[in-house]
Subunit: 281 residues, 2 copies
């Protein structure tokens, strides 16, 4: 596996493979890999001639007071894990390679970014869309693999791809969970053993709310309230949001119909954890 | 010359030529061609294996009350002129091909867009950067040709190319002028004969101000004032702005040094005309 530090070198590498007729698959990450990341790499490996994993902890998607400085890292372990999955190239630029001192250009995906994580993290999706546009242009993949734990991010990037005419297929990949149901996340490393047990409340509450819908409940606000109350039965959990929205537009659903997204963000200890469930009615 | 209406067809066309090792040169336009546009096509023709001209009157770069509906068009004449310059493909999408009904993604180049034309046209550069990003992804040129009459636009697109890692070289092309010095513009067609004569005040005032700097004047605010007063000697002219700014950052220059941009926007009749002059000190 090659480790690539510059945009110029990254471009030359994928351009050569594209010209040779190969499909380039990309997995954008912030590193500290877990099974979720590895599942994306495996899927890309199965479907593409060349697999590029980017590892960049993107400063513009963190707000003031968020965990940019504390974000967990283990570059050597990440390289070993990616190499074991058959990844061809790890694109790991320094911050200065990605952002000029007078960087001024930002990609905003409006409408989809005002609620859910966008409400409590106002610059987050601007940073995500901007860095993903940059990574797409640096790596030029035909396919990009994203995990559905970050459901809102998936919708934001799908919309950016469509609206800016990127010639890239976003491949949605399922959430990978621990045996007790907790969604894998690099931020789970922030949790104490007790907090880690408390984190099971996210999935348990989502499944219970999903069951209510399957049984016929259709009042979106009522289900959202039940979801919040279920999470609040866990004393260590502080709910950031618990919402029921349309799975495509992410607009709040008064009456549930079509595909509904149940989405939650919960603070436990110093971690802010997210999870979601799509329920088809 | 092929006329191409869809992004998919445009992509297929340039991708094939790129794979064959050719350089793709692009000239983004809003049509109603004059010698300024044709000079860009000629330069692209001389430097590139394939020349694509886009013709799209982009709604998102016009504000409310601006001249979107009135913008002059003559598609058949434009096609004949482009074909005569040896253009390979004219990319002329309908508005619905470029913008989905729920289009939500915009590219903002901050800092460079708050003053000059950005002050009186607040959504203009957001629309320009967004459509150029879309056109770049639809046409995938290695080179893009822009005229320096729209100097601020050139700086905005250069910055977007750098910040979003587009693998494209922006080629700056000189302003093309009528024999009396008026910069060529599709909007000159809005002028009556009397207004057209009045329009010479822009260039004459810029040249006089540039001469003052060449003679040693260094007070940016004073030169800007003189520039405004010179334009105001023409009764038909209403100054939108007359400024002296740094030619790279576009920040106002208190004391003139390095490369200074003298830039003006002037309303004459129903036209809003712009012109500029770079003075090296």
């Amino acid at each position: 596996m090659r480790i690539i530090r510059t945009i110029q070198e990254m471009r030359a590498e994928t351009e050569a493979r594209r010209r040779a007729g190969e499909t380039v698959g990309m997995v954008p990450t912030m590193g500290f890999f877990h099974e979720g990341h590895l599942s994306l790499m495996r899927r890309a490996r199965a479907e593409c001639g060349m697999v590029v994993v980017s590892l960049f902890v993107n400063p513009t998607q963190f707000g003031p007071g968020e965990d940019l400085a504390a974000y967990p890292k283990d570059f050597e372990r990440d390289c070993a894990l990616a190499a074991a999955e058959g990844v061809d190239a790890m694109f790991a630029p320094e911050a200065g390679e990605m952002y000029a001192g007078d960087h001024a250009t930002f990609v905003n995906v409006e409408r989809l970014t005002g609620n859910l994580c966008g409400a409590s993290r106002p610059v987050h999706f601007r940073g995500v869309a901007t860095v993903v546009a940059k990574l797409f242009n640096a790596c030029r993949p035909q396919r990009a693999y994203f995990g559905l734990k970050d459901y809102q991010q998936v919708r934001v990037i799908e919309t950016m791809i469509r609206d800016l005419n990127f010639d890239i297929e976003l491949v949605r990949c399922p959430i990978v969970r621990e045996p007790d149901g907790v969604a894998m996340s690099s931020r789970n490393s922030y949790l104490s053993a007790e907090e880690r047990r408390a984190a099971t409340i996210l999935r348990r509450s989502l499944v219970a709310a999903g069951k209510r819908i399957k049984e016929g409940a259709r009042d979106g606000a009522a289900i959202a309230r039940e979801l919040r109350e279920a999470i609040e039965t866990e004393p260590l959990a502080r709910v950031d949001y618990a919402e029921v929205v349309d799975a495509e537009s992410l607009a709040p659903l008064g009456r549930i119909h079509g595909a509904a997204l149940l989405a939650v963000a919960v603070r436990i200890g110093r971690a802010r954890l997210i999870d979601n469930l799509v329920v088809e009615t």
